[in-house]
């Protein structure tokens, strides 16, 4: 493996991180929105959301990315590879995020909401000031877990030709006839990225615990 190979792997890693982080940033709020729809039992949409979330959670990322990239152009929506990749991972993480947020919302003590309502707090304010700060804290471990899962399914976008870390490693292995070294480098990249997320979560939890004690 030469310097060029390491650069290719670094570029692949940058793609992996870009795709995953964009999917997380877009997918988490969307998931929260869906969870609020299900929590509020909005008539009509509620059942549709539940069905779509169940379907998306059962769909492998590879199948979904092929659908997004090859099928959307037939209805006139042609997406570049990278956008299709981000859209796929966003859809997947959105569905899982919805379930995570919903579980935390269902565990939320309703007496706090009753108290806020008794003080005449409007619904939007109730959700923003009372519910969200608390459920964000409670959902954090599950959310970080989901983020690491997204990084782990991100190689799926390679099937539509986005060169991310795994794909870059495979190409180097094919060119040099020695697949093991690039795979080990790719492995180190993933361990580093996922380890960063887990470490960030631990640090955040420590800070919150200090905040709770102070």
């Amino acid at each position: 493996m030469g310097t060029g190979d390491y650069l290719a792997l670094a570029a692949g890693a940058a793609n992996t991180i870009a795709v995953s982080v964009l999917a997380i940033i877009i997918g988490a709020p969307l998931g929260l929105g869906l969870a609020l729809i299900r929590w509020g039992q909005v008539r009509g949409i509620d059942g549709i959301v539940a069905t779509i979330v169940s379907l998306l959670r059962a769909t492998p990322a590879v199948t979904l990315v092929l659908l997004v990239y090859f099928a959307l152009p037939t209805i006139g929506l042609e997406l570049p590879r990278f956008v299709a990749a981000v859209a796929t991972l966003t859809l997947g993480t959105m569905a899982y995020n919805c379930e995570i947020w919903r579980a935390t919302l269902l565990a939320f003590p309703s007496d706090q909401l009753d108290a806020a309502r008794a003080f005449g707090m409007p619904r939007g304010l109730r959700i923003r000031l009372i519910v969200l700060p608390q459920i964000a804290r409670a959902a954090m471990p599950a959310l970080v877990n989901e983020m690491t899962l997204i990084i782990k399914v991100s190689p799926a976008v390679a099937v539509i030709g986005v060169i991310e870390a795994t794909r870059a490693a495979v190409r180097i292995g094919a060119a040099t006839y020695n697949p093991i070294p690039p795979f080990l480098v790719a492995l180190a990249i993933y361990v580093g990225v996922i380890g960063t997320f887990v470490a960030a979560q631990r640090a955040l939890e420590r800070r919150q615990r200090r905040g709770a004690l102070a």
Partner: protein, 291 residues
């Protein structure tokens, strides 16, 4: 466009069906192997040989950081480097098995850590040790507590099996992709694949629910029959196993006196109080049946 897609898929139904059956076969074989290997790893993880357990825990943590697709490539391209040549299908099943066995071992260890230690200590006090302690005392509650998570892992195996498209295993996604490439019906073929995956996952979820129901029913059937264990005037109590701290008991005596039958009683928790309250009144311990 879409009616044509459905038409093409109907013509290609044999191909789609064979893809679906391949996915099911791969999933079932790898799931069984992964559970067996996972159980073995779990036994090593909780063994007294701490050095083995520590190395294994470290390896499992490492495995949980690897994307399945990278692992699959590693098996597929790596095995020939060691002189092992296998078919794509075998490499795929091996990758799925090894990868998921690590997750299963970890989730079993999680369930094990959450269970109260008293049961195992009691087993040891009764002279259970080694494999008999593991099989008779440790595994039943661990497996029972892990059923939902094992179901999740099964769904994960179904979803991971789609990654095998990259090493040209002819499973459902591979077939869907071939059909769409040949006849240019991307929408219909991938939506069809998605729906089939959905059906598979819903079937797993239904299976998990059924197994949990059967387990619950079996536990209730072990309840003492009225009059056999319960002298009149005393309450028949079943100690429930649950998450730590949630130990309670059901009294079946009160309900019976009210003319409720066992089927109704199973569903209705007639009377529950913390165990320490029961212990405080030794008179109630007479006729107690620990199930």
């Amino acid at each position: 466009m879409i009616p044509r897609g459905i038409e093409v898929l109907w013509e290609q139904r044999d191909a789609v069906l064979s893809g679906l059956l391949t996915t099911i076969a791969i999933t079932v074989v790898s799931a069984l192997c992964a559970v067996l290997l996972g159980l073995t790893l779990f036994a090593l993880l909780i063994s007294r040989r701490r050095s083995v357990a520590l190395i294994l825990a470290w390896l499992i943590d490492l495995m949980r950081c690897v994307p399945f697709m990278l692992f699959c490539y590693m098996i597929y391209f790596g095995l020939p480097s060691f002189g092992i040549v296998v078919s794509n299908m075998t490499a795929g099943i091996a990758a799925l098995t090894l990868y998921n066995a690590a997750y299963i071992a970890e989730l079993l260890r999680g369930s094990f850590a959450a269970l109260p230690a008293e049961g195992i200590e009691a087993g040891q006090a009764f002279g259970f040790h080694g494999s008999r302690l593991l099989l008779r005392i440790i595994l039943p509650p661990v497996l029972l507590a892990s059923i939902p998570m094992l179901g999740n892992q099964m769904v994960q195996i179904i979803k991971d099996s789609a990654f095998l498209v990259i090493i040209a295993v002819q499973e459902l996604t591979f077939v869907a992709n071939e059909v769409q490439a040949t006849y240019y019906v991307p929408f219909a073929s991938f939506v069809c694949a998605m729906l089939l995956y959905w059906v598979l996952c819903l079937a797993v979820e239904a299976g998990v629910r059924a197994v949990l129901r059967i387990a619950e029913a079996r536990r209730c059937r072990k309840m003492p029959r009225e009059g056999r264990f319960r002298p009149s005037g005393h309450r028949t109590v079943q100690i429930l196993q649950g998450p730590p701290g949630a130990c309670g008991y059901r009294s079946f005596g009160i309900g019976r006196r009210d003319g409720l039958h066992s089927r109704t009683l199973r569903r209705r928790q007639v009377d529950a109080a913390p165990l320490h309250q029961l212990a405080r009144d030794p008179g109630q311990w007479r006729g107690l049946f620990v199930g």
